[in-house]
Amino acid sequence: MRMDSIDSAFVDKLSAISLRTARDPHTHIQNWPAQIPADAWYTSPELLSMYGTPYWAQIDEAARKRLSLLEACNFYSLNIHGEKALMGGLAARLYDRGNHPVTKYLHHFLAEENKHSVLFGEFCMRYLGKLYPDRKISLHRSMERAEADFLFFAKVLIFEEIADHYNLHMAHDERLHPVARQINENHHFEESRHLAFGRRMLAQLSADYVARLSKERQRELSQYLSTYLAATWHEYYQFDVYRDAGFAEPMEVAAALWDHPAQREHRATVSRKCVCELAQIGLTLEASEL
């Protein structure tokens, strides 16, 4: 991998912004309320997994708001799980093959991901007393370094573009409880730099690696990333959330919501950005699993 061939002025600029705008997660939210009100929104209603489905009409305003808290905790939990994997991958690439300019930014990237997890975890533990579980399993297979680097940054892009859509939307949603709005605003603020860095890395890795692959191998990569995209989305429909919301058949609820046309359309809309970005480097993601 040619991480060292990335434009050093670009990473220096990102590092400078990180330094100038650094936020301490332990003081960023000064006054965590001891309790949060039940009659507030914690996730924008139109981003909830029941929105646009028959379930939405079946539940009253109080149940919708309760669901908005549970789905906020699920969103923060899946971000923590994703950030743990991301931090591991970033740490493994520090000082890799003399990539010093990039490493300077990777230190910021890594630190900022850890800070995000502090805020997400604080909210979940204070107001729900738990995180929702991570059920991902990694079955390691040996792969060449260039492939591992490419897949790492491609998966980061998919995961972060989806999360950032939610963050950006909720950072400006005045209906949300201020703590929820602040957490989303903070995440978007730093993720926009991470995404800019990731796009640049992916373009570089694509030129160095993907462009050299056969059409068949490119098709296999596209298929793998299509499955990753669907797996990422499945985490937004956790049966634990519907169980905590009081549904007697939470797995059936999760399956029905996943299959509902309104939710399919929502996933396709939110995924469009990362699908387009991967198309620009020659990888066409299939929507069949979405």
Binding site: R135, K136, Y224, T227, A231, H234, P250, S288
Partner: protein, 87 residues
């Protein structure tokens, strides 16, 4: 609570859904991961369903790829009342 037969049927339907291009019907001993019918990325969704059917959480740290070899193995591993053989 689903019966073991109902779980096995649901499991087979789920696997079949993950491999729409598959020409033959999935059998209890059809290799799943080794044949590529299901991929490691599908496992989180599968574990979520297994937990729901079992009615208790699964410690993902204790899992190995062999636990998902085929439907017969999955049924034995997660729904058998017999003690699990040591690995």
């Amino acid at each position: 609570m689903k019966s073991p037969e109902e779980i096995e049927t649901s499991l087979r339907m789920w696997v079949q859904r993950k491999a729409p291009g598959l020409q033959t019907e999935v059998q209890p001993t059809t290799p799943l991961l080794a044949s590529g019918i299901i991929k490691s990325l599908h496992l989180a969704e599968l574990i979520m369903m297994l937990e729901m059917w079992r009615g208790e959480p699964i410690d993902v740290q204790s899992l190995i790829p062999g636990d998902f070899q085929d439907i017969e193995t999955i049924m034995r591993r997660f729904f058998s009342t017999q003690p699990r053989e040591s690995q």
